[in-house]
Symmetry: C2
Subunit: 482 residues, 2 copies
Amino acid sequence: MKLYEKLATKLEEQIRSGIFLPGDRIPSVRQTSQQHQLSIKTVLHAYLLLESKGVVQSRPKSGYFVHPECVTGQTPAHELRAAKPIAVSAQVDVSRLVLSTLRSIHNDAIPLGSPYPDPSLFPVQKIDAYGATIGRRNAPWGAADELPPGNPELIRQIAKRYAENGQAVDPNEIIVTIGATEAINLCLQAVAKPGDTIAVESPTFYAMLHAIERMGLRAIEVPTHAKKGIDLVALARIFKQERVAACMVMPNFQNPLGFRMSETNMQRLVDLSARHAVPLIESAVYNELYFGDLRPTSLKALDKHGLVLHCSSFSKSLTTGHHIGWAIPGRFRDQVEKLKFLNTLTTPSIAQKAIAEYLNHERYEHHLRRLRKTYEQNANLMRTTIERYFPEGTRTSHPMGGYVLWVELPPQVDSLTLYERALERQITLGPGYMFSTSNAYGNCIRLNYSYAWSTAIENALITLGELTAHLQHAQEPRRRIP
Amino acid sequence: MKLYEKLATKLEEQIRSGIFLPGDRIPSVRQTSQQHQLSIKTVLHAYLLLESKGVVQSRPKSGYFVHPECVTGQTPAHELRAAKPIAVSAQVDVSRLVLSTLRSIHNDAIPLGSPYPDPSLFPVQKIDAYGATIGRRNAPWGAADELPPGNPELIRQIAKRYAENGQAVDPNEIIVTIGATEAINLCLQAVAKPGDTIAVESPTFYAMLHAIERMGLRAIEVPTHAKKGIDLVALARIFKQERVAACMVMPNFQNPLGFRMSETNMQRLVDLSARHAVPLIESAVYNELYFGDLRPTSLKALDKHGLVLHCSSFSKSLTTGHHIGWAIPGRFRDQVEKLKFLNTLTTPSIAQKAIAEYLNHERYEHHLRRLRKTYEQNANLMRTTIERYFPEGTRTSHPMGGYVLWVELPPQVDSLTLYERALERQITLGPGYMFSTSNAYGNCIRLNYSYAWSTAIENALITLGELTAHLQHAQEPRRRIP
């Protein structure tokens, strides 16, 4: 545990014990710094952490106070605990764990740990049929068609799709990439240079951490509410305190929490980024997978300054096998196009053209409607099953879209140990360690509910519940990422 | 012109004029430095340049002497002039020019400027047919199959192909990538960090410069002989003089010069790299396209220290549309695998499997034999046509494999001006500026001879010859890269 985490724990214990009451002013940063012989920075981080957990609140020019609604008892059941600690400007190295987790997802295992959607719900054969036709009439000198920014017809179809979703996008701003992974990488490289610090949600989708790790940058994890998204007050303070080269977020159906930021908060985030001239890298890969009738907007749609670099792909909604994504990088368009050319030269043309043909001739919206309905049903089934079979103290997220559930297990349970035990029973899961540079989510797991609901999946969840209960009482020590 | 280039020109004029005779000792570096009021480094670079041009030679502990075979008259006709100046540790930014050149290659233009092979000679339909079959039996949970290092069956087929070519390769060392472009990028990233200097051939394939540009590194261009390859004496001196993080070469059928390094020189290069612990990044994309009966070896095959990072792909020999390449990175294998995961996560599975099926069931070697024969014939036809129709002072390379020809035009002719004039007539070409960070190859062009020989191509060459003759007498000033 880091110094500031220790301090925060100590202060929180004091508050919870009743030394300070809701609304009480707590000692100033300077006082606490002197009293505990800690640096101002450490104390500030501790206070920020307490604020993010809803324990204290700051009032301009007055100092810090115990939050009026600070609960001194237990967190209500079936509610995720509030936002987690920030990891301060940490070196990033999660890819090894993520890779070994993904490798565990083979055909004979229950793919609860998979980040991929069930392809059996996707029109794979239709797209492949278009691909085969295109292959047969393969133009001999058509290679230049694949050069950045990408196949013109696919770009037109992508822009059309945004228009159908009520968002105006300039087709000239779109750069086709090898999935959203490359889009995110290139966007980050366009705005950051080695040594920079990048703000991310906490927990965050590991693709963000990978992009940071790829460039050897530092991550600062911002408390993120399980239902509201990134803590804008904390983020504003970070923007004031240090130079942040970019902020990477997933405002809709965040992986792993599944929240949907309100349009008001999305607008605030865009304004905040504009005020501090910090580019926002937005992953929108789940935007088509919303529950209910209200189509989500995007940071991109609210941005007037070209500071949002919007990334998405077809891999979560149409085809997993083709790895076609895109970036809409605002004022950084030319840099991203150049980096795309340098990184992978071109994007395979048959895949681009096949998807363009599908979008042009088939009923994408119809496919999506079915997909959304299935995912929403599966999310409810999985939550209910977990509530029934997992031990007390387990909490689950309430996803508003996408296909992953975040499960907070009792604090004694280590997700890596659970992962290993589950794997022995041919069940995969996503250990919480993948979603942070800290060990803050060691007792959390991510589960995939895109696969058709079945007895096999229900039984896998029951087994996971039993394993969790066992680990809860085994008192094995919590682990750290190796 | 840089200081060292000016000095070299001056000294060469002195030597050519007869002040110094072949075998004469020329003034020491220190003397020349004092005499011309230039730094030791500048004089050393000038001497290195003169050495690379065959004007002087150095003798250990004795100094520099006029080369015994130094010709004082004109260079013999139809021989490429010797290696070109080194550009010293330059910032790299050639991608804009390369991208705009590649964009000019559309279906209605004669693709002499294309870097791609004519796909009509490739078994594209067979591979697509395998792809379609694989698409239909798409395994629902098979996504993990594509994770780095790549599809196991494709990796096995790649290793088998090396074995057929007489080279033992450990399948566990192979990492599948998005074409050789990604392989080269990842290999460079595995061994270099921002600020490092990378040694490359001069002229060099622009993919090398792109990889350097992508990471914001510096390039030092090493004189490279049109028939023998990189100047090992110059390279050894550079290794002694400064810290070089890697050396990037293309020992077989280099793009653009087409030479084939002798096995002796390849072994020397490998030994030199081992002595200085400088990793060698080897592009072997044309290795299957040799002329004559002798299969080429590779640096990889001669390496005993794991210092060679070998990169290749199927894009030049089997299919341009699938972008499947691979790296065999020696002792840097794990870093490259991790970077692959971070850069593009996975490589599309259908493309990997389709190529694996082709290699397993079809006659790859038979296809290649036909390809090699066609390319060798085309190379001769193109050289003969250029000798007939281009003005005096034009020289061409003698490619030993691959499908590109390097043409040195009379020194007055600017290749970018020629490129623009040619484009007006629907003819593309590769301007020499793409192959260096300096303007040393402003009067050179690269031409693609992979396309079926035709009257259209012959006429295009005749037109290029006329345009060249016109520019030679127009006395337009040489240009610099914008």
